[in-house]
Amino acid sequence: MSTSTSQLPRRTFLAGVAGLGAVGALAACSSGSEAPSSSGGGSTPGQLQGTINGLFMKQAGYSEQHIRQMAAAFKKANPGVTVNMEFVAYEALHDKIVAAAAAGTYDLVFIDVIWPAELASKGLIADISDRIPANWSTDILPGALNSAVYQKKFYGIPWLLDTKYFYFNKAMLSKAGIEPSSVTTWDGVAAAAKTLKSKGIVKYPLMWSWSQAEAVICDWAALTASFGGKLFDDSGQPAFTSGGAVQALEFMRRTLVDGLTNPSSTQSLEDDVVKVVSAGDAAMGLNWTYMFAAANDPKQSKVAGDVVITEVPNGGAGRMSVNGSSALSITATTKNPDAAWAFAKFVSSQKIQEKYVSDSLPIWKASYDSPSVIKSAPEVVPVAKEQLANMVNRPQVVNYNAISQKLQVAVQKALLGEVDPKQAMTTAAGDVEQILKQ
């Protein structure tokens, strides 16, 4: 690691923080406009030059508006660097990275925790292990730090630390006379849902993201962990044909059969869960951190103030969830890796992350004890502190996408009652073993 690369970002980083105050005022106007003259705030212009094109996700995590504010702050500290940003839905993100790879369209791409193995092994993203500061391994929470690690090498800058939480509408629960403490286990959730339904408070108390997409795997993985199961064993072979994985699936299926889960769940994504809960048409659901802010925002939600965030209920093995972190990767084709690195490091810095804590929780351990962070998200931080320590990873394998697709179909077939859950998993295990051999 050369000194110049390690020092330069630090300086720009500090300069950026100094400029932050002005950013808030900037937020209102479109961020495509020029940053104010760099003379203010006493910032030293960075020596970095050029343009970087970034591909980001529009969905959970930091909002587009806030990411643009971060970019404006970065631009202020580094007037020589122009940052262009594209935002696409999660569902379009992976294929866009692949399709744009050979053209070298992007310098920096947002990647999900399940992609590093694939993208790194196929040469699409760059190994940046040399750039990673030593203190990161102690200062960053492991769930985030490992979000872009493949074969012990770093392929991305940890950025979003996320996991699925359990949300419930406290007004609906109290109307039905249900104690919040009873929805801390899945049995309790099922019982509460039955009560809510029988009292006519809501037709379908539960809403999930069980569409044929990665979302259904996330829900299932979280439930599997809380039921004490594993999707894959330590040697990377399928372990979902018995135990907690099948129990979780049977639980999911049962809520559909009993009319507790909204049948539209099998065509829904995370945004649909936010929408249905926000409209007061569901009482409970699993979702990422961003739902807390969205469902409690009076502008978007009819039940603002009623939606409570808690840990995933216990299925017998603890209140476990799934790691849904993501990172920013520098593409293998970039011509400006230094600027891309500086930008990624800037937006993942503790100061920036703490500023936008209401969108997404910081990756930095220290933030969780910082009074200002706790103050800005008093409901979320204590819950997150627990949940982030109790989450499982989906397998880090090269052909994850192909495996996930097989599992999505198998899980959906079981949910829709086309195949018995156990049978569906046995069939899927055969397919997955085939793919793993390739």
């Binding site: 399709a99 744009a100 050979a102 369209t105 929408k275 409209a279």
Partner: protein, 316 residues
């Protein structure tokens, strides 16, 4: 003599603009007079037509209403069919939003689509006019094979060539650019335009060429000065179908474009409906806007649809 006969018959199928009208003038007038009582179709046919109009217009009507209904009201159960308060914010955002906003990005995609459509139509029309002339006027070995070769490329499923095409565009630095898209689109628009125009050239009597040749005009001059003005309906219909095909194309644009400076409207709509699934009204406004240009073009050029169809066009 036989030539003229075949030409005029072909025109009946090929040129719906003038021909059916004149046919109506000459052939039907006495009949209409005879059947004055039922000059109009029976009532049940009118009822059927009304039903069809409702089925086709209702979804558009709802999109229009949804686009001016507050987001919260769209989540009401039971759904109200007319909002209590109007919300014009989405339209004003689309009209005035900055380039970085979603609405502004949408505007940019409309501009991109327009440029790509115009470029594609211009390029494919130019090469197809030349090619169509050759196929219609010049006898040469393999004539039929060439015609069929062109036609079969038109049928080629995009998925079959998208991967290597992608690699080719990379090689020439045309990925994620409007020019790249124009070239790719021309590859499947040209065969269609060629086919249409060959059909139209065939309807023009060869005596025209011969007369011009006697006057000493070269082939290119005959084509431009004599033939082209006469097959204006064919060109209109080719332009109509070609521009709609461009506006509609999705798979190539999805894979070949990613930045907002080249992304076309179908890609924007597909992303849009994924990104803003939380506001149905915004999706509705975007959908309506994306549909506007092709609908207007289709309404203006609707007289030329039949001509295009007779020449073997299809869009779908």
């Amino acid at each position: 003599m036989s030539l003229e006969h075949s030409a005029s018959q072909r025109e009946a199928g090929g040129n719906a603009t003038r021909q059916p009208a004149s046919r109506r003038e000459t052939g039907r007038r006495p009949v209409t007079r005879r059947h004055r009582r039922d000059a109009h179709a029976p009532w049940w046919q009118h009822l059927l037509a009304l039903l069809v109009v409702i089925v086709f217009l209702a979804p558009f009507a709802w999109l229009a209403i949804a686009s001016i209904t507050p987001a919260g009201a769209l989540l009401d159960r039971p759904l109200r069919w007319w909002p209590k308060t109007l919300d014009l914010s989405r339209w004003s955002a689309i009209a005035t939003g900055g380039a970085a906003t979603p609405a502004g990005g949408f505007r940019q995609a409309m501009i991109n689509s327009t440029i790509v459509a115009l470029g594609t139509v211009a390029l494919s029309l130019t090469v197809a006019v030349l090619g169509g002339y050759a196929l219609s006027r010049l006898r040469f070995r393999g004539h039929r094979m060439v015609l069929l070769g062109f036609l079969s490329t038109y049928m080629m499923p995009p998925i079959a060539i998208v991967i290597p095409l992608y690699l080719i565009l990379v090689q020439f630095g045309l990925l994620d650019s409007k020019i790249g898209l124009i070239l790719v689109y021309s590859s499947f628009i040209t065969p269609f335009v060629l086919w249409t125009l060959t059909g139209f050239f065939d309807t023009l009597p060869r005596e025209l060429d011969e007369a011009a040749t006697v006057d000493g005009a070269g082939r290119l001059r005959i084509l431009v000065q004599v033939l082209l003005p006469l097959c204006r309906p064919g060109i209109f219909s080719a332009v109509l179908f070609a521009s709609l095909l461009c506006w509609d194309e999705f798979l190539y644009a999805l894979i070949f474009t990613s930045s907002s400076s080249s992304k076309t409207i179908p890609v924007a709509v597909a992303e849009f409906s994924g990104k803003f699934s939380t506001d149905f009204g915004l999706v509705s406004a975007g959908g309506l806007l994306a549909a506007l240009p092709p609908v207007i073009v289709a309404l203006i050029f609707q007289r030329h649809i039949a001509a295009g169809l007779a020449a073997g066009a299809v869009k779908g």
